[in-house]
């Protein structure tokens, strides 16, 4: 054998065709079963990976909100509210099938609009979105047996304001249980990512869903607040930041309507010295950088037992450096674009604060595309509990490493945030994992894994992360008047 071997092959881009998304030049509101122009000011949706405009999106005026709520309440009164559970189930099954059939198209569209890697949209967002519809289709005719009394009733019209990190998946998580429980909905996707929800409206038409059962509006904070505080909306629901959630709670106080709130909060991974190292490294890296860190409950903080911290951080850096950052449409991309210029700006400022506060910064050397809103995956070590990095929700591709000496210390530090959404515990010792999980004040605790979602398992938070659940029996409660 000779020494003059040619260089090993490199990955070359394997881009998914943007044409698959079937982009229209213009997207319109969906009210009462038909698409309409809307009376508000038109906006454009931008591809964060290229900063190019994707499409024009119709604007929602206050009069459109009224129109949509009226349509939903008419549909609830005349068509949907009296329908048998089994009939509702039929529509939900159809929607699930359509999401599967048009999965590739919707995955590419979602990737274009959000900047997330297309492989992730195809393998995570879309299958899970369909799974939420399938799961809740099964519940629709069994609500009497769900443990909420013999005849649990829907609220009527549900107004839902959704985030930009998982536009279609969060839509499925909220719309599917609402419909299964017999409510009608007015949905408002995030201002920067409205496209998949408006294509979902097409699916509703295709499924023959009675007009007015699902209505989709566009717009930003103003439309959102208008919708959630609309007197015709019996159940307002908000998925997004804690700050906005707090404002909504204020606004609705005294109206007799309690909002469904699914709010933010960084998650924490706790790595004990006896953890399965390889998988813990992988879980911590995935936990922090999955979906560019734009995940409620992302594992943006990791607490590592001090005796193994140095080696562990080195391995985390090594693994992070292998993440491929770039064109979201490339099937080999692991980390895509940050969702918007505003988000990039916010995260960049937080990173600067981290440096100024004395944490040690390391960023992946992976080259970034010249255009678009990209941020290299960043790992901060020597982060302390008092720093902003450790206290605020990061919601971006930034991981902070803290250390602990004893299990008690780990639990205390993990709980020492106003949020309480998700945590991961890494140890080969089952008793230690259970001991820790029992003491963590979070809605979800994963053992030796992270970011596992399943419509049969309730997901949601504690304290400032909101107290409602999606998924499973517990998730039905949000949309049943019990």
């Amino acid at each position: 054998m000779t020494d003059s071997e040619p260089a090993p092959w490199e990955y070359v881009p394997a881009p998914e065709s943007a044409g698959l998304a079937g982009l229209s030049s213009e997207y319109r509101l969906f009210v009462d079963g038909t698409f309409s122009a809307g009376s508000g000011e038109k906006t454009t949706s931008v591809n964060p990976a290229t900063t190019e405009e994707l499409a024009t999106v119709a604007g929602t005026a206050d009069s459109d909100v009224d129109r949509a709520v009226e349509a939903a309440s008419g549909a609830f009164r005349d068509r949907w509210g009296g329908l048998d559970g089994s009939a509702r189930a039929k529509y939900l099954f159809r929607l699930a099938r359509l999401l599967q059939e048009r999965g590739r198209e919707l995955a590419v569209l979602e990737s274009l609009d959000t900047g997330k890697p297309v492989r992730q949209a195809r393998e995570f967002d879309l299958p899970n979105a369909a799974a939420y519809f399938l799961h809740h289709a099964g519940w629709a005719d069994k609500l009497d047996y769900a443990g909420f009394g013999p005849d649990p009733a829907p609220f009527g019209v549900v107004g839902q304001v959704l985030p930009w990190n998982f536009p279609l998946l969060t839509l499925a998580q909220q719309v599917a249980p609402a419909l299964a429980c017999g409510n009608t909905v007015v949905v408002k996707p995030a201002e920067t990512t409205p496209l998949s929800a408006l294509v979902f409206a097409e699916l509703c038409q295709q499924a023959g869903l009675p007009p007015g059962v699902v209505n989709v509006l566009t717009g930003g904070a103003h439309t959102g607040e208008k919708l959630l505080s609309h007197p015709g909306v019996a159940k307002p629901a908000f998925v997004g930041s804690t700050e906005v959630g707090r404002r909504i709670r204020h606004r609705l106080a005294g109206t007799g309507r309690t909002p469904v709130l699914m709010l933010g909060g960084s998650g924490t991974n706790i790595v004990f010295a006896d953890a399965p190292v390889e998988q813990a490294v992988q879980g911590v890296v995935d936990g922090a950088f999955f979906n560019q860190g734009h995940v409620r409950g992302a594992g943006s903080r990791v607490l590592v037992e001090e005796s193994v911290a140095e080696e562990f951080v080195e391995r985390v850096r090594e693994r992070t450096a292998t993440l491929r950052v770039g064109d979201p449409l490339d099937r080999n991309t692991d980390v895509g674009a940050v969702n918007s210029a505003a988000e990039l700006d916010r995260i960049t400022r937080l990173v600067e604060t981290g440096e100024a506060e004395g944490a040690r910064r390391w960023s992946s050397p992976h080259p970034l595309p010249e255009r678009g809103y990209f941020l290299a995956p960043t790992v901060f070590s020597e982060v302390h509990q008092s720093m902003r990095l450790a206290r605020e929700e990061v919601f971006g591709p930034v991981l902070s490493v803290l250390t602990f000496r004893t299990p008690e210390e780990a639990v205390t530090k993990a709980n020492n945030t106003p949020h309480g959404l998700a945590a991961g515990v890494w140890s080969e010792k089952g008793s230690r994992t259970l001991w820790t999980a029992n003491r963590l004040r979070t809605g979800v605790v994963w053992g030796n894994t992270f970011h596992r979602f399943d419509p049969t398992a309730p997901f949601g938070g504690e304290r400032e992360s909101g107290s409602d659940r999606v998924g499973g029996r517990a998730g039905l409660e949000a949309y049943l008047d019990v």
């Binding site: 090993p8 092959w9 390889e278 080999n332 030796n448 894994t449």
Partner: protein
């Protein structure tokens, strides 16, 4: 790259190991507590990562390069009771010129046969730079006495084998007699002389990923040049998650000792698609430095033909089918 695996360890040279490994490499109690102290492997996470990396594509333009890399890593294997000198000569001809229609096709890494056919393989290959590998130590079960096993190794080495693929005593391993397995590998290592030693763990019989990891470290400490997953006679043979464990072990070994050790998955890898998945795993789990026949091999028989067919597809722009490449019977 500042370092390159251009020099793999020759035989016999006493390895300079960091203290904790040197301690373990003395065998006995120290070895046992080292192996038992290895961090656990979480099966769910491991399989998840293997599946995720399996979804990665090499990309169209890089495919030919990757196929050529894979062809150069094949240990073309025949390990049947019905093997004859004629069969070995036919395989040797194929190893020399895998695809006579396309002369730029790379040669395979080695020919892998039973010990009694090594002489035949050596003479059939002549001066062609294709290695001859031989299985030994009561392959595939490893159930014989130490004397018989070593005799087999000597037979292979004396007949001119460049590489010896030994099996470990799984019975001893599973009953916790790590020291015995260790000593046996050491003895075989010594009997190999200048030949490279691949240690077959037969992961399909080890039951857990923790055991696979332990066996990998045991083999590396005992002086294996390669760790190899399987004999091909037990199902399951090589799988991606198991290969991940081996790749991670050799990577760690390099990080801690600076020595390059290789990995050979064997059995069950039949298609180009499979092979490319393994190459992605090599690149991501061990590192791009391992993408060389000196550090990564495929133990396979049917794989070569599929690689050749796909290579032709890349070059000719259409798929020709199995009638265009030589069958191996």
């Amino acid at each position: 790259m500042a370092h390159s695996p251009s020099r793999t360890r020759g035989s016999g040279a006493p390895a300079r190991l960091p203290t904790e490994l040197a301690e373990a490499a003395r065998g006995g109690r120290a070895l046992e507590s080292f192996l038992r102290g290895l961090p656990g492997v979480d099966a769910v996470g491991l399989e998840q990562r293997a599946a995720a990396l399996g979804a990665r594509g090499v990309g169209k333009d890089a495919k030919l390069r990757a196929i050529d890399t894979a062809i150069g890593m094949v240990d073309l294997t025949t390990l049947e009771g019905a093997d004859t000198p004629g069969k070995v000569r036919a395989l040797a001809a194929k190893a020399r010129h895998p695809d006579p229609g396309h002369s730029a096709t790379p040669r395979v890494a080695a020919l892998c046969v039973y010990p009694d056919l090594v002489a035949e393989a050596v003479s059939a290959l002549g001066e062609v730079p294709v290695g001859v590998a031989s299985v030994a130590t009561a392959f595939p079960s490893g159930r014989s006495c130490s004397r018989a096993k070593l005799a087999e190794v000597e037979l292979a080495v004396d007949a001119g084998a460049d590489e010896v693929d030994m099996v470990i005593d799984r019975g001893a391993f599973l009953s916790g007699r790590y020291g015995e397995v260790f000593d046996e590998i050491r003895e075989v290592r010594a009997a190999c002389g200048g030949a490279h030693l691949k240690v077959i763990l037969e992961t399909g019989e080890l039951g857990t990923y923790d055991n696979v990891q332990r066996a990998s470290w045991l083999a590396l400490l005992a002086g294996a040049d390669f760790v190899k997953t399987s004999t091909g006679k037990v199902s399951p043979a090589a799988t991606l998650p198991v290969t991940h464990v081996l790749l991670r072990a050799v990577r760690e070994w390099y990080n801690r000792t600076g020595q390059w050790r290789g990995v050979k998955p064997a059995g069950g890898i039949r298609t180009t698609k499979d092979a490319l998945r393994y190459l992605v795993a090599v690149r991501e789990v061990a590192g791009p430095e391992w993408l060389t026949p000196r550090l990564f091999r495929f133990g396979a028989s049917g794989l070569l033909n599929d690689l050749l067919m796909q290579r032709r597809t890349q070059l000719d722009g259409h798929y020709g089918g199995p009638d265009h490449v030589a069958v191996d019977l």
